[in-house]
């Protein structure tokens, strides 16, 4: 229950209204008797806990193949407008999880909801909201890019004209009458992305989208993903290119041997693991005592000296102190670089590598 003080528009007298977000009131000003309507703002209510605020909800997902547990009691949520990265070693259960969300694979146990819709019971409605790019992108080989895409557009009740524009966006505008069977792996991958974003879906599920792509393609895909996010889509993305995940994802989940071992923002994960940034300092001259001086600074955990280069591992707050100490010891600094803890380290730690 909230209470708000509002002012009468006519006499400027105050009155207090109590109610829930979204509730409407017809009120009469106690001073002048002016009548009006008041509604509590509902914005907060949506953000707090309405089922639609989660694009994907996975709760206790378990899938077993003949005694082998591919995915074990996985739970996570992807919010609307968020890019959620999904990491894990080969065979960890990434694809199984993604396919279960789409109900291509039927989960043994667990609830999966797409914008509040149960995928198991209302698959058709739920899938209307999803664009998917499978790990193994495949098309109808003897059809052209446009013919292929037009088929999917027709199935989704999207005008065929949109397909031509999409083919241009993914850089396949010049393939014309060439059948998809003669496309290179990277070209098929590009067409796969076009298929996934066809009709601007609210949810995008991408399983290793950049495999087989050239650097230009990887950059293009990153732009497309960020653009979809801008349009308000939730994106659930798996990749083995960690730098790619780190650069686009708001949060990541790490899966290992079918278990979700971590999920959070990358920086929060490195904090949890007490991974610290490194400062790499190149010096013009170096003194022998510098090693001891630096090690004595509280917050410094490691100091490595390679010739005239010092690599110091410390928490971010200590950086200035370290630099002052080096200058104080009479060394002149040529260059300073800082290296944030990488997702790779986080990944290695969580997956026991």
């Amino acid at each position: 229950m909230h209470s708000v003080t509002i002012r009468c528009k006519k006499c400027n007298g105050t009155l207090i209204v109590q109610g829930k977000p979204g509730e409407k009131f017809y009120i009469t000003c106690p001073n002048c008797g002016c009548k009006g309507m008041f509604m509590f703002p509902i914005v907060e209510a949506i953000e707090i806990d309405s089922p639609e605020s989660y694009a994907i909800e996975v709760d206790g997902l378990t899938k077993t193949y003949r005694g082998f547990t591919a995915v074990n009691k996985i739970s996570f949520r992807v919010k609307t407008g968020e890019i959620f990265g999904f990491l894990g070693p080969n065979g960890a259960g990434k694809t199984t999880t993604m396919k279960s969300i789409l109900d291509i694979i039927h989960a043994d146990v667990g609830n999966i909801k797409i914008k509040g819709i149960d995928i198991r019971t209302h698959g058709k409605e739920a899938r209307k909201l999803i664009g998917y790019m499978p790990e193994k992108v495949a098309f109808y080989d003897h059809l052209t890019a446009l013919q292929n895409l037009s088929f999917y557009a027709e199935m989704r009740h999207i005008p065929t004209e949109d397909c031509r524009a999409l083919i241009d966006i993914v850089g396949l505008g010049d393939t014309g009458k060439k059948p998809v069977g003669k496309f290179s792996k990277g070209m098929v991958q590009r067409l796969g992305m076009a298929r996934a974003i066809l009709g601007n879906p609210e949810i995008l599920i991408l399983d290793e989208p950049s495999s087989g792509l050239d650097p230009r393609g990887i950059a293009l895909f990153r732009d497309i993903i960020l653009d979809m996010k801008k349009k308000g889509a939730a994106i659930f993305l798996s990749s083995h290119i960690l730098s790619e995940i780190q650069s686009v994802c708001d949060r990541v989940g790490i899966i290992n041997k079918g278990v979700l071992v971590a999920q959070d923002e990358v920086s929060a994960l490195s904090k949890k693991l007490q991974l610290m940034p490194q400062i790499i300092i190149d010096l013009e001259t170096i003194t022998d005592t510098i090693d001891d001086i630096l090690k004595k600074i509280p917050g410094v955990t490691n100091v490595e000296i390679h010739g005239k280069q010092i690599i110091i591992t410390c928490d971010s707050k200590t950086k200035t102190q370290v630099i002052l100490a080096i200058e104080g010891a009479g060394c002149s600094i040529i260059n300073i670089q800082t290296r944030e803890p990488s997702l790779e380290e986080v990944f290695m730690r969580y997956t026991g590598g």
């Binding site: 396919k99 789409l102 109900d103 291509i104 694979i105 039927h106 698959g123 058709k124 409605e125 899938r127 209307k128 999803i130 998917y132 499978p134 193994k136 992108v137 495949a138 098309f139 109808y140 080989d141 003897h142 088929f151 999917y152 027709e154 199935m155 989704r156 009740h157 298929r195």
Partner: protein
């Protein structure tokens, strides 16, 4: 729902109608029919209905199942193996619609091949016969389309049951061989084992016909025999069980279509792709 089924059906049709196999077999339909009719005209036999039964149907009985099985065995398993099925399943559609759409698409291609192939050949040879009966020939075409759809739905069943194209084609060949070659031998064996000689000497027992009619191909040939009012040399109409009719045979064909289709749907619904 209708719309997505038809979109899938259309794609399946377009994909298969370009198949060289379908063009080849349609031409084969035309040429074989004309050739057989010409041979028949120079033989000691006579009669349009008899010509359909002894010359054309035995070949149709072999060709149509091959056509349907070859077109359909990979329609699902091939897409799964290649990877395009996962994209299809993530469209706003259901597995039931996918299977129905594919069956409609396949059936349309088969129908087109039969109607064009046998239809044009039939028109041509009708000029060679004095007693040409296009109504009877039309019934033959309709029954042929039905048996084509029965085998299309069997091929879909094999396609959802087997995980690899190679095993699905093996099973398709087995079913073709079993239904065209083995089934009546099996029925003969059963009759010979369980019916005593005395009963056999009094005429063909009903059980023989009943067991045989479990084979859709037998139901197909019997339906045509009964509509063209001609039997082969060793079976007479009076031998058939009294409840046998062309309608019952057509019903059996529809029943097999439904049985294969329902099993295919049940399996596909449960499958992980």
């Amino acid at each position: 729902m209708k719309n997505t089924v038809l979109v899938i059906a259309k794609k399946e049709f377009m994909e298969n109608v370009r198949n060289k196999w379908i063009i080849f077999i349609s031409v084969l339909f035309v040429l074989s029919t004309i050739l057989l009719a010409l041979i028949y005209l120079n033989s000691m036999w006579q009669g349009w209905g008899h010509m359909i039964n002894v010359m054309i149907m035995p070949l149709v009985k072999i060709l149509i199942p091959i056509l349907a099985l070859m077109l359909g065995y990979a329609t699902i398993t091939g897409e799964i193996e290649k990877g395009s099925m996962s994209a299809l399943l993530t469209l706003p559609t259901t597995r039931r619609e996918i299977v129905l759409g594919k069956l409609i698409g396949l059936s349309s291609v088969i129908m087109l091949a039969i109607v064009l192939g046998y239809g044009s050949a039939g028109l041509f040879i009708s000029f060679l016969f004095n007693d040409a009966n296009l109504v009877q020939y039309g019934a033959f075409i309709v029954a042929s389309v039905l048996i084509g759809i029965v085998f299309a739905s069997l091929s879909l069943l094999l396609s959802v049951f087997f995980t690899k194209r190679s095993t699905a084609i093996g099973a398709a060949i087995f079913f073709w061989f079993f239904l065209t070659m083995m089934f009546d031998l099996l029925v003969n064996g059963i009759i010979a084992t369980i019916v005593d000689v005395e009963t056999l000497s009094q005429g063909t027992p009903d059980l023989y016909f009943i067991l045989n009619s479990l084979n859709p191909l037998y139901a197909y040939t019997t339906a045509i025999r009964m509509t063209t009012n001609t039997t082969n040399t060793y079976i007479q109409f009076s031998d058939y069980p009294s409840f046998f009719s062309a309608g019952l045979m057509v019903f059996i064909l529809f029943l097999w279509m439904a049985i294969y289709l329902v099993i295919a749907l049940l399996i596909f619904e449960k499958r992980d792709i």
